[in-house]
Amino acid sequence: MRQWNTRKALREERIAAGGVFANAKAIDPKHLVDFLEAVLRPGDRVCIEGDNQKQADVLARGLADMDPARIHDLHMVQSGVVLPEHLDIFDSGIAKRLDFSYSGPQSARIARMLFGGKIELGAIHTYLELFARYFVDLTPQVALIAAVSADRHGNLYTGPNTEDTPTVVEATSFGSGLVIAQVGEIVDTLPRVDIPGDQVHFVLDAGRPFYVEPLFTRDPAAMTETQILTAMMAIKGLYEPYGVRRLNHGIGFNTAAIELLLPTYGEKLGLKGKICTHWALNPHPTLIPAIEAGWVEQVHCFGSEVGMEDYLAARPDIFFTGPDGSLRSNRAFSQTAGLYACDMFIGSTLQIDLSGHSSTITANRIAGFGGAPNMGSDARGRRHPSAPWLQAGAEADPDTPAPLRRGRKLVVQIGETFGEGNAPLFVEKLSALELAEKLDLDLAPVMVYADDTTHIVTEEGIANLLLCRNADEREQAIRGVAGFTEIGRGRDKTMLERLRARKIIQRPEDLGIDPLDANRNMLAARSIKDLMLASGGLYRPPSRFRNW
């Protein structure tokens, strides 16, 4: 007779073994490493919580301190490879196989370790893909998660930075795995229950809050006039004609400039209420002036942002908040929202090739994907219409009868023709391809595929790829906004004039924009302090962003 409850039985064994180093659910902090060695088995599939923002940092330290003779060959399934400990465990042999999504700060080291064979790579995913696999073929046997606080029963308060926690716990706990949480403190009564205690098996009082990176703070003081120009072009050349109300913005300065131009330039164009009303977006401090000026109706967040907590709690009409008043973020739901319920994604990138593939990979660095490919892709499963989606679909495919024609999500890449360190934005061959060859990967790590990209905005103009009818037109449209890069200088001038007549390429003057008008006085806030003042003092910028 087959046993049908081996997974649950194994979990009971782990709970019993771990109980030796715990008082009921409370792990003895002095014996964290002993505890982890007791509950883990060699070869376990383990999720350590951490993404581009929050980190279960104390548990990560504990994992790294284990004895590799006892616990080894773990298969790590995790959103972010961000802390040094995340890779230390591969160096020491505690872990062997890796499936992940994002590796920003560790991008150089992870590339070296992959190349050196220290890591057996499963795949690099988007957040949403990895979450999906937690429920299909990568269900964690043990999850190490992070919360703000717990009560005696193991109920968790994850606070504004809830992010991945509900998804990880759902897959692990209901998949008969073990859930271990690090918390900043144990309290009698939680502000709200984000994770019910019966899904949590052990709790570690770390004695301090988990680490959070302020990743989405862009200092307006660092915004250039070129970025302001590209932002003006995006508003006038894309947001206005398509009437984009539901959208996601990337993390860069170009899109932050758009946020700061809404209450000034956008107001002047009479666009309030007509664009940018509903967002799937982290709480960008640069959105504060637009929110305060009444532009924004609703924002759902993947995570929170350091210093924004009080502001978010004071604007519950705009943000999703709990009974305690503070923000509730949820990465899985917000990614789904970005994929299915937004009509536009616009973001910066590091390289664009001649077909329109783009990538943030540079030589010898693997930064992973995070969420951008989900935001920056056309959802083939989408069925509900909206004006921008239908208009983009009609531009791409004018011949199919409207009722059978798919709409298109607007997927916009925005940037300056020469980026940081004067590196050209446009390249003959993506560094991602070289990396794939070097590491013998099946797929080059492309952030946004050419067939998803609908527009490219640079200071030289907007290329509308939806209107291109063949590969030649597409290539010339890209060359036509590539400025003085090698790619840009390889343009066919007569063809470009034809493309311009068909509005496949639009120059600033075609949009009625004088580049000399693009100056910093147009920004609704010109410094972090301006943002703080715009929030009525509710936004508390982290020390590293203050110059006062």
Partner: protein, 300 residues
């Protein structure tokens, strides 16, 4: 929502001069068309600038003729090299010779490392120039509120001025945050803790301890108005001034020597909630500072 105030912090050297002086009154000395570039930078394969990062000339403020100098913080952090220094030295000597007041818009990290000896000598010459001009009855007004702050030799020159006008963004010190951290360790000085850096070297703190005299909003017009007022003050520098200032600095060490953070000093000055100081708007702060601050004796 409009945002039309011109930020001093964001402005370049020429924009600052244009905002300071009466329209069409400025005439530049040794302008970029003369191409007096640094003789040293090309050895290091570094870019040069035709004005070597400083604009000097004469103009009028409210009808009163003045000499004006403005450092360009965006060229090598406003650092002082041989030509840069010589232009300022010359201006100060001319000021003494023709008895005309000088306005210096500082924006500098100190001496240019690539021409260190020439730069150090220039700093000494400029300091002498300031003091000799002041002894002859000339006012030398320093304005500090640029991106590079006023560091190294710039901080020493600023200390010699008749009046220092500073905004919140302006930082004044000799040794910069990164250098202190490198030499003394991050426990002593965390240069990446920006609010700590500003608390220790920024315009508000310098105003409160008498390291600067006038606190203004980050606005070119506010700098201009404060400059006009400073040019109307009686010029004064003699042995009594220096003796009084020396006595004040000794008192300052006794009073604040044990304080480990600027907020401790602000508390000792009698400010109830020192942690509220950094977030205070300029006008509110200026009023509060007037009540509690230490005052320099035309020297610092």
């Amino acid at each position: 929502m409009s945002n039309t105030r011109q930020s001093w912090y964001e402005a370049g050297a020429r924009e600052r001069i244009a905002a300071l002086v009466d329209p069409a009154s400025f005439a530049e000395f040794i302008g970029p068309e003369r191409r007096e570039i640094s003789p040293h930078l090309s050895i290091f394969d570094l870019p040069t600038q035709f004005d070597d990062g400083i604009v000097v000339g004469c103009g009028a403020i409210g009808g009163t003729p003045v000499f004006v100098a403005a450092q360009e913080g965006r060229f090598m952090g406003g650092a002082v090299g041989e030509v840069h220094g010589a232009k300022l030295t010359g201006l100060l000597r001319a000021a003494k010779a023709v008895a005309r007041d000088v306005v210096i818009a500082f924006d500098t990290g100190g001496v240019r490392l690539q021409e260190a000896n020439a730069g150090e000598i220039a700093i000494a010459e400029i300091m002498r120039g300031v003091v000799e001009a002041r002894m002859a009855g000339v006012r030398v007004v320093g304005l500090i509120g640029g991106r590079a702050g006023c560091y190294g030799g710039g901080g020493l020159i600023a200390g010699c001025c008749s009046t220092l006008i500073v905004s919140e963004q302006g930082r004044i010190s000799v040794t910069g945050p990164e250098v202190i951290e490198t030499n003394k360790g991050v426990e002593e000085f965390d240069s990446r803790d920006r609010s700590f850096v500003w608390r220790t070297m920024g315009g508000k703190h310098r105003t409160l301890i008498g390291g600067a005299d006038v606190f203004v909003e980050d606005d070119t017009m506010a700098f201009r108005d404060a400059t006009r007022a400073a040019l109307a003050r009686a010029p004064k520098l003699d042995g009594n001034t220096l003796a009084a200032e020396q006595a004040r600095l000794e008192r300052r060490i006794t009073r604040f020597g044990e304080a480990s953070d600027a907020t401790d000093i602000w508390q000792l000055l009698g400010i109830d909630d020192p942690w509220a100081i950094p977030d205070m708007p300029a006008t509110g702060f200026a009023t509060l500072a007037d009540t509690y601050r230490e005052r320099a004796d035309d020297a610092r």
